[in-house]
């Protein structure tokens, strides 16, 4: 069974590719798969009917007790035969239905085959959750098949409607299945049936499962999707909406009936909804003029019928249900296929436009007649046998005084009369010769291949009547799990054509005669139809609900999506203040102990910092604002120093400097005045939110301090850092060794940010076009420029090039003092940065501080000499520097793995070298070098983007060369 299931999937995947060569013959290939499954089931038949179920087991998610268990018992066997047999025939039929030129054949064949596979899996699933998976798969494939004509709006709408309805039911069912599986302690269907839990929770679960089953089988109030689904190509209707998918609900009811038919409300729900559906469907079918819609409403009606008898819960009823299921699959598929042939030939399915087909296509008419007779319940067809069995099962219980059974009998007879009536209407509509209607000529030659599938199905319906004993042998074992009614005749009921002159036979006769009468009185019925209008239609309710959901979505969207970022941020902050504030008030364990200060100096620093922060909110000029924010940063640095954190103090100062420069580089292009257009709005409200948020953060700090009860783990760090990490500077060892994973992640963030900066500035490519180089080229260019400068400058003046690109600058922009200072300090600064890098393991410093110092050296070169100088100072691209740094850091992480140690494990080497003396080396230093390079790369990226590239974009010469981009200088 697994093999076949997988085969369905593989073939479905291959079909689209094969279609290119095979065209519509691809369906013949596709039909082989369900046919193989059919043959397999048929061959397994004797064993299964003798009580030896097939079972194949495989684990799926053992932690959740999910399995891929498949099993085939008599019930599954019967349904498998229908699903695979009809599936194979319908696929065969498709080869004639579609022409080689039809669009989307490959997709259609694949989806239909996949659907057949999903249906096969659904029937065989032993685990309710596996069943659910296949259940939803059938819904999805059904959606694709109904919407096959993608270009038609009606197709798409109907497909979505069917999908929403059945998946909504499916979700409800899933809840029920979970409850059921939880109560039985197993998701296996046989186990659930064997334990058959009881109680209100089980009733709830069962009702939820029934919602799923009824929505799938198009039972009131979910029936409306099935007529809509007729937008699908007719073979789909013949398979999904007659034989397979709509039977899934019935199958599930049949599956659960042995365990739960006596659960409160089970029978009442199914009988009431089933009868209502049967009668309503039959009544509406009488009104239809589209043959396919007539069949669709007829199917709705028959599904109601099936649900009544399947849910009834006695052995005879289950037998009858099985027979009816088979009979319905045979005759309804036949009829849909016949409609497909008519539509294919005549170009219409409207019975008002069809005439004379009986004479012109007698074989087709004969096939249809057989199927219709079976549907109407005429002997000797199998439909008659099935209906007799149904009536028998109900009459037996009615005779026992069961009121529900009596109601069911009356309802079934009324429904059967309507069925007979619309069967006759179908035959009349499709094949009769009508006055005033031109004969349809196009159906004179229907090929035998086209007729094959409906003919086989119709003949099967005919043959099973006289061969009822054979059918009985096949179906009765599936009913054996249900209790027989004891008070009835001692003998068990069997399917047969002739049971003698019974009440059931009389009821059948009444129904058929009444049906004939209804058909003959069709004019009056039509008038009645015109007068009687249902006050509510389920379909309209559905569209109202969908429209309501859309409107609600729009309303919610407009309510929450204001489109204003300050608004969102404000809401987030208010929720933060309210939520955190409430939690702190209710659940806080008290505030931490408070001391006023460590040294009075903190107070002085604090006053300056707060004043600067407030000034930043009031500043009207960009540079002022940036500077006062910078002051808070320097204040931070002072606080760090006081708190015994020299590394932080150094790093903070360096970062403040670089940040300040980055700001200046960008702000020189922006107007000096800060935009005041929106600045003044809602000041009071913003201030309130701001103060509340600040106060909340303060309380959080106090509470968090109070919540700490244990000694911090890092008390041991200084010693550990020295013993394990071989470094005295605990903070540095923490960064490159103890907590190096954190640092590695942070480096990734830095690289991402640096790359982001570059990509925002370099629009035309990552290559920054700096003349970097080839110093000779720079020099030549410089000399050319110099010549120009000389012409403008005072004659005879000689300027020395203190820095490489110095002479390239406009003399008015040059600062000789700056050039000299940079020239004198650059190399020294680089040396200092390297010292910080390598000394950092034992003294304040490290890769971060060192990298920033080196970055500042580059800043100096850029400020003194502009972008050419930067190009000369950093002959490698920022990307290379960043990449090398990451390579070193990640390499330090990865290499220990190769040596069998944990990632980032450091190693320590010490040696006595001849000249240098005692040398110690820790591998984490390599990591620190990576950090150093990445920080340098970051600063370099900032400089060449926010500095050099902004220069270039502002340069009139360059802009003239590339005028396409940018609005202003």
């Amino acid at each position: 069974m697994f093999v076949l299931l997988v085969l369905f999937g593989i073939v479905a995947l291959l079909l689209p590719a094969l279609t290119r060569g095979l065209k519509n013959r691809v369906f013949l290939l596709a039909a082989l798969v369900p046919f193989a499954a059919f043959v397999h089931a048929l061959a397994s038949g004797p064993g299964i009917l003798a009580g030896e179920n097939l079972a194949e087991r495989a684990p799926w998610v053992p932690q959740l007790q999910l399995t891929l268990d498949l099993f085939m018992d008599p019930l599954a066997w019967v349904i498998t035969l229908i699903v695979t047999g009809v599936g194979a025939l319908v696929l065969l039929y498709c080869a004639s239905y579609f022409t080689p030129e039809s669009e989307g054949i490959g997709r259609f064949a694949a989806t239909l085959t996949a659907f057949a596979g999903a249906m096969y899996g659904l029937v065989l699933a032993e685990d309710v959750f596996l069943l659910f998976v296949f259940w939803e798969l059938t819904s999805v494939f059904s959606y694709l098949l109904i919407g096959h004509y993608q270009g038609r709006k009606a197709s798409r709408g109907a497909a979505l409607q069917a999908l929403i309805t059945t998946t909504l039911g499916g979700l409800v069912m899933l809840v029920g299945l979970v409850l059921l599986a939880h109560q039985s302690g197993s998701a296996s269907i046989p186990v659930i049936l064997a334990t058959a839990p009881d109680g209100p929770l089980t009733t709830t679960a069962i009702v939820l499962v029934l919602v799923g089953a009824l929505s799938k089988s198009a039972i009131l109030p979910f029936h409306f999707w099935l007529p809509g689904a007729m937008a699908a190509p007719t073979p789909v209707s013949a398979y999904l909406h007659a034989a397979a998918m709509v039977k899934a609900g019935v199958y599930l009811i049949a599956r659960l009936a042995p365990g739960f038919a006596d659960v409160a409300s089970w029978r009442e729900i199914l009988v009431a909804l089933g009868l209502a559906t049967m009668i309503l469907g039959g009544w509406v079918a009488l009104r239809q003029t589209d043959l396919k819609l007539l069949l669709a409403y007829g199917t709705v009606s028959q599904l109601g019928f099936l649900v009544v008898i399947t849910g009834w819960g006695t052995r005879d009823a289950a037998l009858a249900a099985g027979a009816l299921l088979v009979a319905h699959a045979l005759f309804k598929s036949t009829l849909f296929l016949v409609v497909g042939i008519i539509d294919h030939g005549a170009g219409t399915r409207d019975l008002r436009s069809l005439s004379g087909l009986g004479r012109r296509a007698p074989v087709l008419a004969g096939i249809a007649a057989l199927a219709l007779a079976s549907m109407a319940g005429l002997p000797p067809l199998f439909g008659f046998v099935a209906k007799e069995a149904v009536l028998h099962a109900l009459v037996v219980d009615a005779r026992d005084g069961m009121a529900l059974a009596a109601i069911a009998v009356v309802g079934v007879v009324v429904g059967s009369a309507l069925t007979a009536a619309y069967s006759i209407r179908f035959f009349w509509g499709a094949f009769a010769t009508k006055r005033d209607v031109e004969d349809v000529a196009a159906l004179d030659h229907v090929g035998p291949g086209f007729l094959f599938a409906p003919a086989v199905l119709a003949i099967a319906g005919l043959a099973l009547g006289p061969l009822a004993a054979l059918a009985d042998a096949g179906i009765a074992p599936a009913a054996a799990e249900l209790p027989a009614v004891e008070s009835a005749s001692a003998e068990a009921y069997h399917l047969a054509l002739w049971h003698g002159l019974t009440l059931e036979l009389g009821l059948s006769l009444v129904a058929v005669l009444a049906g004939l009468a209804i058909f003959l009185a069709r004019e009056s019925i039509a008038r009645l139809h015109a007068r009687v209008h249902s006050p509510v239609s389920a379909s309209e309710l559905y569209w109202d609900a969908i429209g309501g959901v859309d409107r609600l979505a729009v309303r919610v969207t407009t309510l929450t999506q204001r489109g204003s970022l300050p608004f969102y941020l404000g809401v987030i902050l208010v929720v933060f203040v309210a939520g955190t504030g409430a939690t702190l008030l209710i659940g806080s364990s008290g505030l931490g102990e408070v001391r006023l200060w460590d040294t009075p100096a903190q107070v002085a620093i604090g006053v300056v910092m707060i004043a600067s922060a407030v000034a930043a909110t009031r500043a009207q000029k960009r540079f002022t604002a940036v500077l006062v924010v910078g002051v808070t940063g320097f204040g931070m640095s002072a606080l760090f120093a006081i708190m015994g954190a020299p590394d932080l103090a150094i790093t903070q100062i360096l970062v403040e400097l670089v940040t300040l420069i980055a700001f200046v580089l960008v702000l020189r292009r922006l107007p000096a005045q800060l935009g005041d257009r929106h600045g003044s709005t809602r000041r009071v409200l913003r201030a309130i939110i701001a103060i509340a948020a600040g106060a909340t953060m303060g309380v959080i700090a106090l509470v968090a301090a109070g919540a700490r009860t244990e000694q911090p783990i890092s008390r041991q760090w200084p010693e550990l850092a020295y013993v394990i990490g071989h470094g005295r500077n605990t903070v540095n060892v923490a960064l490159v060794d103890l907590r190096a994973w954190d640092t590695l992640g942070e480096l990734a963030v830095v690289i991402a940010a640096a790359t982001g900066v570059a990509s925002l500035l370099f629009i035309r490519g990552r290559d920054d076009a700096l003349p970097r180089p080839a110093r000779g080229a720079v020099r030549r260019r410089v000399e050319q420029r110099l010549d120009r400068v000389r012409e403008q400058g005072r004659p005879g003046e000689v300027r020395n090039a203190w820095i490489l690109a110095g002479p390239s600058l406009d003399p008015r922009n040059r600062s000789i003092l700056l050039e000299v200072v940079v020239r004198l300090t650059f190399h020294a600064t680089i040396v200092v940065s390297l010292y910080l890098l390598f000394a950092g393991h034992n003294l304040p410093g490290g890769g971060f501080a060192g990298g920033l110092v080196a970055g500042l050296a580059l800043v100096g070169r850029y400020l003194a000499g502009g972008r050419y100088e930067l190009g000369a100072a950093a002959p490698v691209g920022a990307g290379t520097v960043l990449g090398t740094g990451m390579l070193l850091a990640a390499g330090t992480a990865a290499v220990p793995l190769l040596l069998g140690a944990d990632a980032l494990t450091s190693a320590f080497v010490e040696a006595e070298l001849p000249v240098l003396g005692h040398v110690e080396f820790v591998t984490s230093t390599i990591f620190d070098v990576g950090v150093y390079l990445i920080v340098v790369g970051l600063v370099l990226d900032v400089l060449r983007s926010l500095g050099a590239e902004v220069d270039r974009q502002g340069d009139p010469v360059e802009r003239a060369a590339a005028p396409a981009e940018g609005a202003r200088s």
């Binding site: 204003s564 015994g644 900066v757």
Partner: protein, 144 residues
């Protein structure tokens, strides 16, 4: 563990100023607010150090409890550099916004506004079963 009240006050004030700036529409002010919030957050972590001690440079003669807690320091150090990297990115964004739109502030989302004003209509695809009576609409036209 005791906390220094002065630090808590500084932190709260900086957070308040940061939030006030973040609620602005001017991108530059938002970035300044971001920087202030970054500093305030580093201060929050610093407060968790407890009492000030001596710098955690290992010395065998010093009692372990006399060092300033090194763990928050490691966290702050990385935070400082990341704040710089991200503010550089924001700066690039501001510059780009200025070049392209000549704007240093962000305006409301146009799609959201359109939806609120009802200029966008959303219609469900509705269908009636009677929509089509044949699978072969083209064939029919041919045969007639």
């Amino acid at each position: 563990m005791t906390v220094s009240l002065v630090l808590v006050v500084i932190m709260s004030a900086m957070y308040a100023c940061a939030v006030y700036l973040l609620l602005e529409r001017s991108l530059t002010r938002v970035l300044l607010g971001f920087l202030l919030a970054g500093n305030a957050t580093n201060l929050l972590i610093l407060i968790m150090v407890g009492e000030a001690g001596i710098a955690p440079i290992y010395d065998e003669s010093v009692d372990p409890s006399e060092y300033t807690d090194p763990l928050p320091q490691a966290l702050i150090l990385t935070a400082i550099v990341i704040t710089f990297a991200v503010s550089a990115f924001l700066l690039a964004l501001i510059y780009r916004s200025w070049r392209l739109a000549n704007a240093d502030d962000f305006s409301d989302d146009a799609d959201d506004l359109a939806l609120r004003e009802g200029t966008v209509l959303i219609e469900a695809e509705e269908t009636l079963p009677e929509a089509s009576t044949t699978d072969f609409p083209l064939d029919r036209e041919d045969s007639r």
